[in-house]
Protein backbone atom coordinates (compact mmCIF):
# COMPACT_ATOMS: atom_id res chain seq x y z
CA UNK A 1 0.00 0.00 0.00
CA UNK A 2 2.80 2.39 0.73
CA UNK A 3 4.72 2.33 -2.50
CA UNK A 4 2.07 2.74 -5.19
CA UNK A 5 1.99 6.28 -6.54
CA UNK A 6 -1.59 6.99 -7.60
CA UNK A 7 -1.96 8.36 -11.11
CA UNK A 8 -3.92 11.49 -11.94
CA UNK A 9 -3.66 13.24 -8.56
CA UNK A 10 -3.71 16.98 -8.72
CA UNK A 11 -1.19 19.22 -7.04
CA UNK A 12 -3.48 19.88 -4.08
CA UNK A 13 -3.70 16.23 -3.15
CA UNK A 14 0.06 15.92 -3.55
CA UNK A 15 0.63 18.92 -1.30
CA UNK A 16 -1.87 17.66 1.25
CA UNK A 17 0.01 14.38 1.49
CA UNK A 18 3.38 16.17 1.62
CA UNK A 19 2.41 18.51 4.45
CA UNK A 20 0.44 16.01 6.52
CA UNK A 21 3.24 13.46 6.16
CA UNK A 22 5.60 16.12 7.51
CA UNK A 23 3.45 16.30 10.68
CA UNK A 24 1.95 19.75 10.02
CA UNK A 25 -1.43 18.36 11.02
CA UNK A 26 -4.68 18.17 9.05
CA UNK A 27 -6.26 21.49 10.08
CA UNK A 28 -3.17 23.60 9.48
CA UNK A 29 -2.56 21.89 6.15
CA UNK A 30 -6.15 22.55 5.10
CA UNK A 31 -5.90 26.22 6.08
CA UNK A 32 -2.55 26.70 4.34
CA UNK A 33 -3.69 25.17 1.06
CA UNK A 34 -7.00 27.06 1.19
CA UNK A 35 -5.08 30.31 1.66
CA UNK A 36 -2.88 29.54 -1.36
CA UNK A 37 -5.92 28.76 -3.50
CA UNK A 38 -7.49 32.09 -2.52
CA UNK A 39 -4.37 34.22 -2.85
CA UNK A 40 -2.93 32.97 -6.11
CA UNK A 41 -4.36 34.02 -9.46
CA UNK A 42 -5.93 31.33 -11.63
CA UNK A 43 -2.90 31.49 -13.93
CA UNK A 44 -0.48 31.16 -11.02
CA UNK A 45 -2.42 28.15 -9.80
CA UNK A 46 -1.59 26.42 -13.09
CA UNK A 47 2.12 26.50 -12.32
CA UNK A 48 3.26 23.90 -9.75
CA UNK A 49 6.52 25.83 -9.28
CA UNK A 50 4.63 29.02 -8.47
CA UNK A 51 2.42 27.17 -5.99
CA UNK A 52 5.45 25.62 -4.29
CA UNK A 53 7.27 28.92 -3.96
CA UNK A 54 4.12 30.54 -2.56
CA UNK A 55 3.86 27.72 -0.04
CA UNK A 56 7.52 28.15 0.88
CA UNK A 57 6.93 31.89 1.43
CA UNK A 58 3.91 31.18 3.58
CA UNK A 59 5.82 28.76 5.83
CA UNK A 60 8.77 31.15 6.15
CA UNK A 61 6.32 33.88 7.05
CA UNK A 62 5.01 31.77 9.94
CA UNK A 63 8.45 30.83 11.19
CA UNK A 64 9.69 34.39 11.15
CA UNK A 65 13.28 35.54 11.13
CA UNK A 66 16.24 33.38 12.09
CA UNK A 67 16.65 32.46 15.74
CA UNK A 68 17.56 35.26 18.06
CA UNK A 69 20.63 34.00 19.87
CA UNK A 70 20.83 32.42 23.28
CA UNK A 71 20.99 34.74 26.28
CA UNK A 72 24.53 34.40 27.61
CA UNK A 73 24.58 37.53 29.78
CA UNK A 74 24.53 37.22 33.49
CA UNK A 75 26.88 35.60 35.91
CA UNK A 76 25.81 32.99 35.51
CA UNK A 77 23.49 32.76 32.53
CA UNK A 78 21.17 29.95 33.59
CA UNK A 79 19.60 27.59 31.07
CA UNK A 80 16.72 25.40 32.28
CA UNK A 81 16.13 22.43 29.94
CA UNK A 82 12.82 20.63 30.18
CA UNK A 83 10.58 18.34 28.18
CA UNK A 84 8.93 14.95 28.01
CA UNK A 85 10.86 11.71 28.43
CA UNK A 86 13.61 10.77 26.00
CA UNK A 87 13.58 13.86 23.77
CA UNK A 88 17.31 14.57 24.16
CA UNK A 89 17.60 17.07 27.03
CA UNK A 90 20.72 15.59 28.64
CA UNK A 91 22.50 15.12 25.31
CA UNK A 92 21.62 18.65 24.24
CA UNK A 93 23.13 19.99 27.46
CA UNK A 94 26.33 18.08 26.70
CA UNK A 95 26.50 19.59 23.21
CA UNK A 96 25.63 23.08 24.46
CA UNK A 97 28.28 22.83 27.18
CA UNK A 98 30.82 21.92 24.52
CA UNK A 99 29.82 24.91 22.37
CA UNK A 100 30.20 27.29 25.31
CA UNK A 101 33.51 25.69 26.30
CA UNK A 102 34.77 26.24 22.73
CA UNK A 103 33.89 29.90 23.24
CA UNK A 104 36.13 29.95 26.29
CA UNK A 105 33.31 30.18 28.81
CA UNK A 106 33.27 28.53 32.23
CA UNK A 107 30.41 26.07 32.31
CA UNK A 108 28.76 24.35 35.29
CA UNK A 109 26.20 21.54 34.99
CA UNK A 110 23.35 20.83 37.41
CA UNK A 111 22.16 17.21 37.56
CA UNK A 112 18.62 18.03 38.65
CA UNK A 113 17.22 14.74 37.32
CA UNK A 114 17.31 12.89 40.61
CA UNK A 115 14.73 10.37 39.55
CA UNK A 116 15.76 8.34 36.49
CA UNK A 117 18.27 5.50 36.72
CA UNK A 118 21.85 6.70 36.11
CA UNK A 119 20.70 10.20 35.07
CA UNK A 120 23.51 12.03 36.87
CA UNK A 121 26.07 9.43 35.74
CA UNK A 122 25.02 10.15 32.14
CA UNK A 123 25.51 13.90 32.67
CA UNK A 124 28.83 13.27 34.42
CA UNK A 125 30.21 11.59 31.31
CA UNK A 126 29.31 14.69 29.31
CA UNK A 127 30.86 16.91 31.96
CA UNK A 128 34.15 15.04 31.62
CA UNK A 129 33.98 15.19 27.82
CA UNK A 130 33.59 18.95 27.69
CA UNK A 131 35.50 20.05 30.78
CA UNK A 132 32.62 21.23 32.92
CA UNK A 133 32.07 20.54 36.61
CA UNK A 134 28.83 19.02 37.72
CA UNK A 135 26.71 19.59 40.82
CA UNK A 136 24.72 16.51 41.82
CA UNK A 137 22.99 15.00 44.83
CA UNK A 138 22.08 11.41 45.63
CA UNK A 139 19.24 9.72 43.73
CA UNK A 140 15.84 10.72 45.06
CA UNK A 141 17.03 14.11 46.30
CA UNK A 142 14.90 17.24 45.82
CA UNK A 143 15.73 18.65 42.34
CA UNK A 144 15.25 22.20 43.67
CA UNK A 145 17.96 21.58 46.24
CA UNK A 146 20.35 20.52 43.48
CA UNK A 147 19.49 23.67 41.53
CA UNK A 148 19.96 25.91 44.56
CA UNK A 149 23.38 24.35 45.26
CA UNK A 150 24.31 24.67 41.62
CA UNK A 151 23.53 28.38 41.40
CA UNK A 152 25.44 29.04 44.60
CA UNK A 153 28.39 27.09 43.22
CA UNK A 154 28.15 28.89 39.87
CA UNK A 155 28.31 32.28 41.58
CA UNK A 156 31.10 31.21 43.92
CA UNK A 157 33.21 29.73 41.11
CA UNK A 158 32.56 32.53 38.65
CA UNK A 159 30.89 30.27 36.10
CA UNK A 160 29.59 32.08 33.03
CA UNK A 161 26.97 29.46 32.18
CA UNK A 162 24.88 27.10 34.30
CA UNK A 163 23.03 24.35 32.41
CA UNK A 164 20.25 22.68 34.40
CA UNK A 165 19.23 19.15 33.38
CA UNK A 166 15.79 18.03 34.55
CA UNK A 167 14.01 14.69 34.46
CA UNK A 168 11.78 13.93 31.51
CA UNK A 169 8.10 14.29 32.38
CA UNK A 170 4.78 14.13 30.58
CA UNK A 171 3.03 17.52 30.50
CA UNK A 172 -0.11 15.80 31.77
CA UNK A 173 1.42 15.07 35.18
CA UNK A 174 0.59 18.12 37.25
CA UNK A 175 2.75 17.16 40.25
CA UNK A 176 5.79 16.93 37.97
CA UNK A 177 4.94 20.30 36.38
CA UNK A 178 4.76 21.68 39.93
CA UNK A 179 8.26 20.33 40.52
CA UNK A 180 9.51 22.41 37.59
CA UNK A 181 7.65 25.47 38.83
CA UNK A 182 9.39 25.11 42.16
CA UNK A 183 12.77 24.94 40.40
CA UNK A 184 11.98 28.18 38.57
CA UNK A 185 10.85 29.84 41.80
CA UNK A 186 14.06 28.79 43.55
CA UNK A 187 16.12 30.24 40.70
CA UNK A 188 14.14 33.47 40.71
CA UNK A 189 14.62 33.86 44.47
CA UNK A 190 18.40 33.53 44.18
CA UNK A 191 18.47 36.33 41.62
CA UNK A 192 15.56 37.93 39.71
CA UNK A 193 15.66 37.15 36.03
CA UNK A 194 16.93 33.60 36.54
CA UNK A 195 16.71 31.43 34.52
CA UNK A 196 17.54 33.53 31.46
CA UNK A 197 16.49 30.66 29.21
CA UNK A 198 13.67 28.13 29.77
CA UNK A 199 13.96 25.77 26.82
CA UNK A 200 11.53 23.04 25.84
CA UNK A 201 13.29 20.15 24.11
CA UNK A 202 11.08 18.52 21.47
CA UNK A 203 11.70 15.34 19.48
CA UNK A 204 11.35 15.81 15.70
CA UNK A 205 9.56 12.45 15.45
CA UNK A 206 6.69 13.56 17.67
CA UNK A 207 3.37 14.10 15.95
CA UNK A 208 0.55 16.42 16.97
CA UNK A 209 1.27 15.80 20.64
CA UNK A 210 4.20 18.24 20.28
CA UNK A 211 1.64 21.05 20.14
CA UNK A 212 -0.01 19.87 23.37
CA UNK A 213 3.41 19.62 25.02
CA UNK A 214 4.42 23.13 23.96
CA UNK A 215 1.08 24.56 24.99
CA UNK A 216 1.10 23.04 28.46
CA UNK A 217 4.76 23.66 29.24
CA UNK A 218 4.52 27.23 27.96
CA UNK A 219 1.34 27.99 29.88
CA UNK A 220 2.74 26.56 33.11
CA UNK A 221 6.39 27.52 32.89
CA UNK A 222 6.72 30.41 30.42
CA UNK A 223 9.21 29.11 27.90
CA UNK A 224 11.85 31.32 26.30
CA UNK A 225 12.36 29.04 23.34
CA UNK A 226 12.39 25.61 21.77
CA UNK A 227 15.04 23.04 20.93
CA UNK A 228 14.17 20.44 18.33
CA UNK A 229 16.27 17.25 18.31
CA UNK A 230 16.76 14.28 15.98
CA UNK A 231 16.44 16.40 12.85
CA UNK A 232 19.36 14.43 11.38
CA UNK A 233 17.01 11.69 10.28
CA UNK A 234 13.79 11.47 8.29
CA UNK A 235 11.40 13.31 10.60
CA UNK A 236 10.51 16.81 9.43
CA UNK A 237 9.04 18.29 12.63
CA UNK A 238 6.14 19.97 10.85
CA UNK A 239 4.31 20.34 14.18
CA UNK A 240 6.65 23.29 14.77
CA UNK A 241 4.62 25.32 12.28
CA UNK A 242 1.53 25.05 14.48
CA UNK A 243 3.51 25.73 17.65
CA UNK A 244 5.21 28.85 16.33
CA UNK A 245 1.99 30.13 14.80
CA UNK A 246 0.06 29.70 18.03
CA UNK A 247 2.68 30.61 20.61
CA UNK A 248 5.31 32.63 18.76
CA UNK A 249 8.14 30.81 20.53
CA UNK A 250 11.59 31.15 18.95
CA UNK A 251 13.35 27.97 17.86
CA UNK A 252 16.79 28.44 19.31
CA UNK A 253 18.66 25.22 18.59
CA UNK A 254 18.42 22.01 16.62
CA UNK A 255 19.99 18.64 17.38
CA UNK A 256 21.33 16.83 14.34
CA UNK A 257 22.96 13.75 15.80
CA UNK A 258 24.32 12.10 18.91
CA UNK A 259 27.82 13.57 18.72
CA UNK A 260 29.23 16.48 20.68
CA UNK A 261 29.27 18.78 17.65
CA UNK A 262 25.76 17.91 16.45
CA UNK A 263 24.09 21.12 17.56
CA UNK A 264 23.14 23.96 15.21
CA UNK A 265 21.29 27.24 15.23
CA UNK A 266 17.83 27.02 13.72
CA UNK A 267 17.81 28.08 10.08
CA UNK A 268 14.23 28.67 8.85
CA UNK A 269 14.93 28.44 5.12
CA UNK A 270 16.93 25.22 5.47
CA UNK A 271 14.14 23.82 7.63
CA UNK A 272 11.42 24.72 5.13
CA UNK A 273 13.47 23.43 2.22
CA UNK A 274 13.84 20.03 3.93
CA UNK A 275 10.17 20.02 4.88
CA UNK A 276 9.03 20.48 1.29
CA UNK A 277 11.28 17.81 -0.17
Amino acid sequence: IFSRKEAGRDIWEELEELLISADLGAKITERLLEKLRRQLSSRELQSPDRVMSALREELLDVLGPSSKGLCVDGSPAVFLMLGVNGTGKTTTIGKLAWKFRQEGRRVLLAAADTFRAAASEQLEVWGRRVGADIIKHQPGADPSAVVYDAVSAAVARGADILLVDTAGRLHTKSNLIEELKKIKRVLGKVKPGLPQETLLVLDAYTGQNAIYQAREFHQQLELSGLVITKLDATAKAGALIGIVEEMGLPIKLIGVGEGIEDLQEFNPSAFVKALLE
Partner: protein, 290 residues
Protein backbone atom coordinates in the same frame (compact mmCIF):
# COMPACT_ATOMS: atom_id res chain seq x y z
CA UNK B 1 -15.85 13.62 20.66
CA UNK B 2 -15.89 12.08 17.19
CA UNK B 3 -19.31 10.66 17.99
CA UNK B 4 -20.55 14.14 18.84
CA UNK B 5 -19.07 15.61 15.65
CA UNK B 6 -20.77 12.94 13.61
CA UNK B 7 -24.05 13.55 15.47
CA UNK B 8 -24.16 17.06 14.01
CA UNK B 9 -23.25 15.75 10.56
CA UNK B 10 -26.08 13.29 10.70
CA UNK B 11 -28.67 15.60 12.28
CA UNK B 12 -30.19 16.04 8.86
CA UNK B 13 -30.53 12.30 8.53
CA UNK B 14 -33.46 12.07 10.89
CA UNK B 15 -36.00 9.96 9.12
CA UNK B 16 -33.69 8.52 6.49
CA UNK B 17 -33.59 4.76 6.50
CA UNK B 18 -30.19 4.19 4.95
CA UNK B 19 -26.65 5.50 4.99
CA UNK B 20 -26.03 6.81 1.49
CA UNK B 21 -22.79 7.70 -0.27
CA UNK B 22 -23.68 11.39 -0.04
CA UNK B 23 -24.37 11.61 3.66
CA UNK B 24 -21.33 9.52 4.42
CA UNK B 25 -18.92 11.93 2.66
CA UNK B 26 -19.14 14.57 5.36
CA UNK B 27 -18.84 11.91 8.05
CA UNK B 28 -15.75 10.52 6.34
CA UNK B 29 -14.20 13.98 6.34
CA UNK B 30 -14.70 14.26 10.11
CA UNK B 31 -13.26 10.81 10.61
CA UNK B 32 -10.26 11.67 8.43
CA UNK B 33 -9.53 14.76 10.55
CA UNK B 34 -9.90 12.80 13.77
CA UNK B 35 -7.57 10.03 12.65
CA UNK B 36 -4.92 12.39 11.28
CA UNK B 37 -5.13 14.43 14.46
CA UNK B 38 -4.40 11.19 16.31
CA UNK B 39 -1.24 10.73 14.21
CA UNK B 40 -2.50 7.83 12.11
CA UNK B 41 -0.44 7.72 8.92
CA UNK B 42 -1.93 9.57 5.92
CA UNK B 43 -1.97 6.55 3.59
CA UNK B 44 -3.38 4.29 6.30
CA UNK B 45 -6.19 6.80 6.86
CA UNK B 46 -7.06 6.74 3.16
CA UNK B 47 -7.22 2.95 3.27
CA UNK B 48 -9.40 2.94 6.38
CA UNK B 49 -11.83 5.49 4.96
CA UNK B 50 -12.22 3.41 1.82
CA UNK B 51 -13.07 0.34 3.89
CA UNK B 52 -15.50 2.26 6.09
CA UNK B 53 -17.25 3.68 3.05
CA UNK B 54 -17.66 0.23 1.51
CA UNK B 55 -19.06 -1.18 4.73
CA UNK B 56 -21.31 1.77 5.52
CA UNK B 57 -23.01 2.53 2.22
CA UNK B 58 -26.40 0.95 1.93
CA UNK B 59 -26.48 -0.21 5.51
CA UNK B 60 -29.80 -0.06 7.25
CA UNK B 61 -29.69 2.54 10.00
CA UNK B 62 -30.17 0.40 13.08
CA UNK B 63 -33.06 1.34 15.29
CA UNK B 64 -30.87 1.44 18.38
CA UNK B 65 -28.25 3.83 16.95
CA UNK B 66 -28.21 7.21 15.29
CA UNK B 67 -26.52 7.23 11.85
CA UNK B 68 -23.53 9.04 13.35
CA UNK B 69 -23.15 6.44 16.06
CA UNK B 70 -23.43 3.72 13.47
CA UNK B 71 -20.62 5.11 11.35
CA UNK B 72 -18.43 5.47 14.44
CA UNK B 73 -19.21 1.89 15.31
CA UNK B 74 -18.04 0.80 11.84
CA UNK B 75 -14.82 2.83 12.16
CA UNK B 76 -14.23 1.42 15.63
CA UNK B 77 -14.69 -2.11 14.30
CA UNK B 78 -12.25 -1.44 11.45
CA UNK B 79 -9.64 -0.13 13.87
CA UNK B 80 -9.99 -3.06 16.25
CA UNK B 81 -9.83 -5.49 13.34
CA UNK B 82 -6.70 -3.80 12.02
CA UNK B 83 -5.03 -3.78 15.43
CA UNK B 84 -5.65 -7.46 15.98
CA UNK B 85 -8.38 -9.11 17.92
CA UNK B 86 -6.83 -9.39 21.34
CA UNK B 87 -3.66 -9.57 23.39
CA UNK B 88 -1.01 -11.55 21.52
CA UNK B 89 1.54 -13.23 23.74
CA UNK B 90 5.16 -13.08 22.62
CA UNK B 91 6.79 -16.30 21.58
CA UNK B 92 8.86 -18.07 24.24
CA UNK B 93 11.53 -20.75 23.89
CA UNK B 94 10.83 -24.44 24.34
CA UNK B 95 14.38 -24.86 25.69
CA UNK B 96 15.84 -22.10 27.87
CA UNK B 97 17.02 -19.49 27.68
CA UNK B 98 14.33 -17.45 25.99
CA UNK B 99 16.03 -14.48 24.34
CA UNK B 100 14.25 -11.18 23.75
CA UNK B 101 15.95 -8.35 21.89
CA UNK B 102 14.67 -4.76 22.12
CA UNK B 103 15.31 -2.36 19.24
CA UNK B 104 14.14 1.08 18.22
CA UNK B 105 14.86 4.77 17.78
CA UNK B 106 16.80 6.85 20.28
CA UNK B 107 14.92 7.64 23.47
CA UNK B 108 11.88 5.45 22.73
CA UNK B 109 12.12 3.67 26.09
CA UNK B 110 14.03 0.46 25.35
CA UNK B 111 16.21 0.36 28.48
CA UNK B 112 13.30 1.09 30.80
CA UNK B 113 11.10 -1.41 28.93
CA UNK B 114 13.81 -4.07 29.30
CA UNK B 115 13.50 -3.65 33.05
CA UNK B 116 9.71 -3.71 32.87
CA UNK B 117 9.69 -6.90 30.79
CA UNK B 118 12.09 -8.54 33.22
CA UNK B 119 9.73 -7.72 36.06
CA UNK B 120 6.75 -8.98 34.05
CA UNK B 121 8.35 -12.34 33.32
CA UNK B 122 9.57 -12.68 36.89
CA UNK B 123 5.94 -12.53 37.94
CA UNK B 124 5.29 -15.36 35.48
CA UNK B 125 7.88 -17.52 37.17
CA UNK B 126 10.88 -16.94 34.91
CA UNK B 127 14.39 -16.00 36.08
CA UNK B 128 15.46 -13.21 33.73
CA UNK B 129 18.81 -11.54 33.23
CA UNK B 130 19.38 -8.19 31.53
CA UNK B 131 22.04 -7.66 28.88
CA UNK B 132 23.39 -4.16 28.21
CA UNK B 133 24.29 -4.28 24.53
CA UNK B 134 24.54 -0.48 24.20
CA UNK B 135 28.22 0.54 24.36
CA UNK B 136 27.61 4.01 22.92
CA UNK B 137 25.26 6.02 25.10
CA UNK B 138 26.91 7.53 28.19
CA UNK B 139 26.11 5.44 31.28
CA UNK B 140 23.75 3.14 29.32
CA UNK B 141 25.06 0.03 31.04
CA UNK B 142 24.88 1.78 34.41
CA UNK B 143 21.25 2.65 33.72
CA UNK B 144 20.39 -1.00 33.07
CA UNK B 145 22.45 -2.12 36.08
CA UNK B 146 20.44 0.15 38.36
CA UNK B 147 17.20 -1.40 37.06
CA UNK B 148 18.60 -4.92 37.43
CA UNK B 149 19.62 -4.10 40.99
CA UNK B 150 16.13 -2.85 41.73
CA UNK B 151 14.77 -6.23 40.60
CA UNK B 152 17.51 -8.28 42.18
CA UNK B 153 18.56 -9.89 38.92
CA UNK B 154 21.91 -10.05 37.11
CA UNK B 155 22.94 -7.57 34.45
CA UNK B 156 25.60 -8.38 31.87
CA UNK B 157 27.49 -5.20 30.99
CA UNK B 158 30.13 -4.71 28.30
CA UNK B 159 33.69 -5.35 29.39
CA UNK B 160 36.37 -2.94 28.24
CA UNK B 161 36.31 -2.86 24.43
CA UNK B 162 33.79 -5.71 24.15
CA UNK B 163 31.43 -5.54 21.16
CA UNK B 164 27.65 -5.82 21.70
CA UNK B 165 27.70 -9.22 20.06
CA UNK B 166 30.40 -10.52 22.41
CA UNK B 167 28.57 -9.13 25.45
CA UNK B 168 25.43 -11.00 24.38
CA UNK B 169 27.26 -14.26 23.61
CA UNK B 170 29.02 -14.04 26.97
CA UNK B 171 25.68 -13.53 28.69
CA UNK B 172 24.25 -16.64 27.03
CA UNK B 173 27.31 -18.64 28.09
CA UNK B 174 27.42 -17.32 31.65
CA UNK B 175 23.71 -17.36 32.40
CA UNK B 176 23.49 -20.37 34.69
CA UNK B 177 20.33 -19.80 36.67
CA UNK B 178 18.71 -17.39 34.20
CA UNK B 179 16.28 -18.95 31.73
CA UNK B 180 15.30 -15.63 30.16
CA UNK B 181 17.62 -12.98 28.69
CA UNK B 182 16.43 -9.53 27.69
CA UNK B 183 18.87 -7.67 25.45
CA UNK B 184 18.79 -3.88 25.50
CA UNK B 185 20.34 -2.44 22.33
CA UNK B 186 21.42 1.12 21.54
CA UNK B 187 18.90 3.51 20.03
CA UNK B 188 19.53 3.90 16.31
CA UNK B 189 18.05 5.37 13.16
CA UNK B 190 16.41 3.04 10.63
CA UNK B 191 18.54 4.80 8.01
CA UNK B 192 21.89 4.13 9.70
CA UNK B 193 23.29 1.31 7.57
CA UNK B 194 26.13 0.44 9.93
CA UNK B 195 23.98 0.20 13.05
CA UNK B 196 21.24 -1.75 11.26
CA UNK B 197 23.94 -4.23 10.21
CA UNK B 198 25.00 -4.46 13.85
CA UNK B 199 21.46 -5.59 14.69
CA UNK B 200 21.52 -8.10 11.85
CA UNK B 201 24.75 -9.46 13.29
CA UNK B 202 23.23 -9.76 16.75
CA UNK B 203 20.21 -11.55 15.35
CA UNK B 204 22.39 -14.01 13.43
CA UNK B 205 24.56 -14.76 16.46
CA UNK B 206 21.75 -15.13 19.01
CA UNK B 207 18.58 -16.16 17.13
CA UNK B 208 16.31 -14.24 19.54
CA UNK B 209 12.88 -15.78 20.05
CA UNK B 210 11.33 -12.34 20.03
CA UNK B 211 12.60 -9.08 18.53
CA UNK B 212 10.51 -6.22 19.85
CA UNK B 213 10.33 -2.77 18.33
CA UNK B 214 9.97 -0.18 21.10
CA UNK B 215 8.10 2.87 19.86
CA UNK B 216 7.07 6.15 21.48
CA UNK B 217 3.26 6.50 21.53
CA UNK B 218 3.53 10.17 20.53
CA UNK B 219 5.30 9.36 17.29
CA UNK B 220 3.93 11.09 14.22
CA UNK B 221 3.73 10.27 10.53
CA UNK B 222 7.24 8.75 10.39
CA UNK B 223 6.07 5.73 12.37
CA UNK B 224 5.46 3.81 9.14
CA UNK B 225 8.88 4.48 7.68
CA UNK B 226 10.63 3.66 10.95
CA UNK B 227 8.70 0.42 11.47
CA UNK B 228 9.26 -0.64 7.87
CA UNK B 229 12.94 0.19 8.12
CA UNK B 230 13.45 -1.97 11.19
CA UNK B 231 11.19 -4.73 9.91
CA UNK B 232 12.74 -4.97 6.46
CA UNK B 233 16.32 -4.90 7.73
CA UNK B 234 16.06 -6.86 10.98
CA UNK B 235 12.64 -8.43 11.25
CA UNK B 236 10.22 -7.46 14.02
CA UNK B 237 8.09 -9.95 15.93
CA UNK B 238 6.18 -7.62 18.20
CA UNK B 239 5.87 -3.98 19.25
CA UNK B 240 5.86 -2.17 22.57
CA UNK B 241 4.24 1.27 22.61
CA UNK B 242 5.68 3.44 25.42
CA UNK B 243 4.57 6.61 27.23
CA UNK B 244 0.96 5.76 26.56
CA UNK B 245 -0.26 7.11 29.89
CA UNK B 246 -0.09 10.68 28.62
CA UNK B 247 -2.46 12.36 26.17
CA UNK B 248 -0.81 11.06 23.01
CA UNK B 249 -3.63 9.47 21.02
CA UNK B 250 -1.33 6.71 19.78
CA UNK B 251 -2.25 6.61 16.09
CA UNK B 252 1.26 5.29 15.48
CA UNK B 253 -0.09 1.95 16.72
CA UNK B 254 -2.48 1.79 13.78
CA UNK B 255 0.15 2.92 11.31
CA UNK B 256 2.70 0.36 12.46
CA UNK B 257 0.21 -2.46 12.50
CA UNK B 258 -0.90 -1.58 8.97
CA UNK B 259 2.69 -1.23 7.76
CA UNK B 260 4.35 -4.37 9.13
CA UNK B 261 1.43 -6.48 10.32
CA UNK B 262 3.04 -7.28 13.66
CA UNK B 263 1.06 -7.16 16.91
CA UNK B 264 1.44 -4.54 19.59
CA UNK B 265 2.03 -6.72 22.63
CA UNK B 266 2.63 -4.34 25.52
CA UNK B 267 2.15 -0.71 26.35
CA UNK B 268 4.29 1.34 28.71
CA UNK B 269 2.17 3.42 31.04
CA UNK B 270 4.69 5.09 33.29
CA UNK B 271 8.30 5.48 34.31
CA UNK B 272 8.38 2.83 37.03
CA UNK B 273 9.14 -0.82 36.35
CA UNK B 274 5.60 -1.94 37.17
CA UNK B 275 4.14 0.33 34.45
CA UNK B 276 3.70 -2.24 31.70
CA UNK B 277 0.39 -3.62 30.46
CA UNK B 278 -0.63 -6.16 27.83
CA UNK B 279 -2.10 -4.41 24.81
CA UNK B 280 -5.88 -4.31 24.32
CA UNK B 281 -6.95 -3.22 20.82
CA UNK B 282 -10.40 -1.87 21.74
CA UNK B 283 -8.97 0.56 24.28
CA UNK B 284 -6.55 2.10 21.80
CA UNK B 285 -9.25 2.24 19.13
CA UNK B 286 -11.50 4.24 21.47
CA UNK B 287 -8.63 6.55 22.34
CA UNK B 288 -7.78 7.22 18.72
CA UNK B 289 -11.37 8.11 17.92
CA UNK B 290 -11.40 10.54 20.83
Amino acid sequence: ILTNKLQTVFKQLRGYGRLTEANIQEALREIKLALLDADVNYKVVKLLLQRVQEKAVGQEVLASLSPGQQVVKIVHQELVELLGQSYRKPRLASHPPTIFMLVGLQGSGKTTTAGKLARHYMSEGYRPGLVAADPYRPAAAKQLEVLAQELGIPCYSPLEGESPKDTCLRAVREAELQNFLIIDTAGRLHINQELMEELQGLKKALSPHQIMLVVDAMMGQEAVRVAEGFHNQVGIDGVVLTKQEGDARGGAAISIRAAIGRPIQFIGVGERLDALEPFHPERIASRILG
